[in-house]
């Protein structure tokens, strides 16, 4: 089936509006994606027809809500090819997923060991590990990046060594779009017996992942970056790894028996799902996954690559335009500076012309420091963006630069 972006846009009514008198051009997709009607309708349908608390009621609505939620768990399992649905945990987001693991490893990681991340992580894949290292006395190490925004893995054997307890890194960088050499890093980490985590915040909507093929211990996804609702994350973990970790939060849903003296915990996935889950979010995410898979992630990725290449071609004629992170292997993110202008100013003037981009440090201060820029402007593309929108973006950018210089 041919990829018809204009039909696809009809699924996203939010795109059809004017901002400051100009048609909205939404290019902040790496921050969050817009939601198709099927997702919005699935959430409405849940509240209109079967809202109830899950897992505890014998009544029909509760059964329906539970079935709805659990069928999404199975859908996620199939999407990333996990062995069993119990290995899929619903969390509040990537940050919550990573904190769950970092907290769980507190009594497993010890002084003399090290935790390895990369210089291009967003803060949620840096700070939880810094906190783990503070608690345990372990050392935090990282892979640096080169001028193209690629990981420097020349010294992989000295960075990941026999004392490496954890290796955690993103599949695709949110600030730069670089696609990282996942297999290489995982293989090395596995050879020293380290726990492994891959952060799929940015890769979720652009790349298919098979967690068994990677043989990774933990993998995380963000619903809202994949056309689903906000407030929901996915944490995949191998059964034996999840079972080895203590729960992160206590409360309802996660217990087996409770007396006033002590409680015993439920098995996975419930052990890590304390409290009433984000039911509407889970239902909505199920609809988003179906939507994405019907279009086909490969088709989406091909469309976005075309947009990225077109945007690079169009913008490179602008004087002083510099791409930050020009790896050949990258996904749908155009992070840039225009010499002689500040990214905030570009962001404001583009917004005045209806174009939504991100400006600043993208929650990745270390990588901005590495590139010696105070921040970048970032246009990121999604399945509904068009070449016409890139033309509008370019024209708006030229106008902004002319005003600022």
């Amino acid at each position: 089936m041919a990829y018809n972006v204009h039909d696809i846009r009809a699924q996203f009514p939010i795109l059809n509006q004017k901002i400051h008198g100009h048609p909205l051009v939404y290019l902040d997709n790496a921050a969050t994606s817009q939601k198709p009607l099927v997702v919005i309708n699935a959430i409405s349908d849940y509240y209109l027809n079967y809202n109830a608390n899950v897992h505890r009621g014998v009544h029909t609505l509760s059964q329906r809500a539970t079935d709805g939620m659990e069928s999404v768990r199975e859908q996620v399992r199939a999407h990333i090819n996990a062995k069993e649905a119990a290995e899929i945990i619903f969390t509040r987001g990537i940050t919550d997923s990573i904190n769950t693991i970092a907290f769980g490893l507190s009594s497993i990681v010890s002084k003399g060991q090290n935790v390895v991340i990369t210089e291009m992580e967003h803060h949620s894949n840096i700070v939880p590990w810094q906190m783990l290292c503070e608690r345990t006395g372990a050392e935090l190490r990282y892979f640096p990046v080169n001028d193209h925004g690629e990981l420097v893995v020349d010294h992989i054997d000295t960075i990941i060594d026999k004392d490496t307890a954890v290796v955690s890194f993103n599949h695709i960088s949110n600030a730069l779009g670089t696609i990282n050499p996942v297999e290489l890093l995982l293989k090395k980490a596995q050879s020293v017996g380290a726990w492994t985590l891959v952060d799929g915040a940015q890769s979720g909507p652009h790349a298919m992942v098979d967690v068994q093929e990677w043989d990774v211990d933990f993998f995380t996804l963000s619903s809202h970056k994949m056309y689903g609702p906000t407030g929901l994350g996915i944490l995949y973990g191998k059964r034996e790894k999840l079972e080895a970790l203590p729960p992160y939060q206590g409360g309802g849903e996660m217990i087996d028996t409770v007396t006033m003296k002590e409680s015993s915990y439920a098995g996975i996935p419930h052990k890590f799902e304390a409290g009433t889950p984000h039911i509407e979010g889970i239902i909505g995410f199920g609809a988003a996954l179906t939507f994405v898979n019907e279009l086909g992630i490969e088709n989406i990725a091909a469309h976005e690559s075309e947009l990225l290449a077109y945007a690079v071609e169009q913008c490179s004629s602008i004087e002083g335009f510099r791409i930050i992170g020009d790896s050949l292997n990258k996904a749908s993110v155009l992070s840039f500076v225009v010499d002689g202008t500040h990214s905030y100013d570009l962001g404001v003037l583009l917004d005045q012309q209806g174009v939504a981009i991100r400006t600043g440090q993208h929650c990745t201060q270390p990588i901005m420091d590495a590139f010696c820029v105070s921040g970048t402007a970032r246009a990121s593309f999604a399945l509904y963006n068009t070449k016409e929108e890139i033309d509008l973006f370019k024209a708006a950018l030229v106008k902004a630069v002319n005003m600022l210089k």
């Binding site: 400051h20 202008t341 500040h342 905030y344 100013d345 404001v348 003037l349 917004d351 005045q352 012309q353 600043g360 105070s374 106008k399 005003m403 600022l404």
Partner: protein, 138 residues
């Protein structure tokens, strides 16, 4: 020497005259470009206005009963906004700056137009100016 109120009225009129917000931004940018800046040595860490997305340095000096402001910013729109405030409040009696009414920001439509974070930044600049003025008028 125009009073604070007269200066505010000039700004309101200028903004009123420009219909399109892109033109208003052009005006702000031009004010930023023409403002006397701080030297690199003067840009001390403790002069940074907290709560701004971009870096804004604000310096105040006392000259008799008047307060003189100097500023700089790394982003030009922020610089233009602080230049506008300096135009209104610098070289005015400290006491009047401390007590100045801020209704002109609403009349210019600026507060409504800026994003919440930028509006906060603007308010931080003014709070800082008024704070200096209060100290100098004591």
């Amino acid at each position: 020497m125009s009073s604070i109120q007269e200066k505010q009225q000039v700004l309101i009129d200028d903004f009123d005259f420009l219909e399109e917000w892109m033109d208003k931004y052009s005006h702000i940018i031009e004010m930023g470009k023409s403002m006397a800046t701080l030297s690199e040595d003067e840009k001390e860490e403790d002069l940074l206005v907290k709560g701004c997305q971009s870096k804004v340095w604000l310096k105040a000096e006392k000259n008799g009963n008047r307060v003189i402001f100097k500023a700089d910013a790394d982003a030009i729109i922020a610089k233009g906004i602080v230049a506008m405030l300096i135009d209104v409040f610098s070289d005015q009696p400290a006491k009047e700056v401390a007590q100045a009414d801020l209704g002109f920001l609403d009349k210019m439509g600026l507060k409504d137009h800026l994003s919440p974070t930028r509006a906060n930044g603007l308010m931080s600049m003014i709070t800082q100016m008024k704070y200096y003025a209060l100290v100098f008028s004591g």
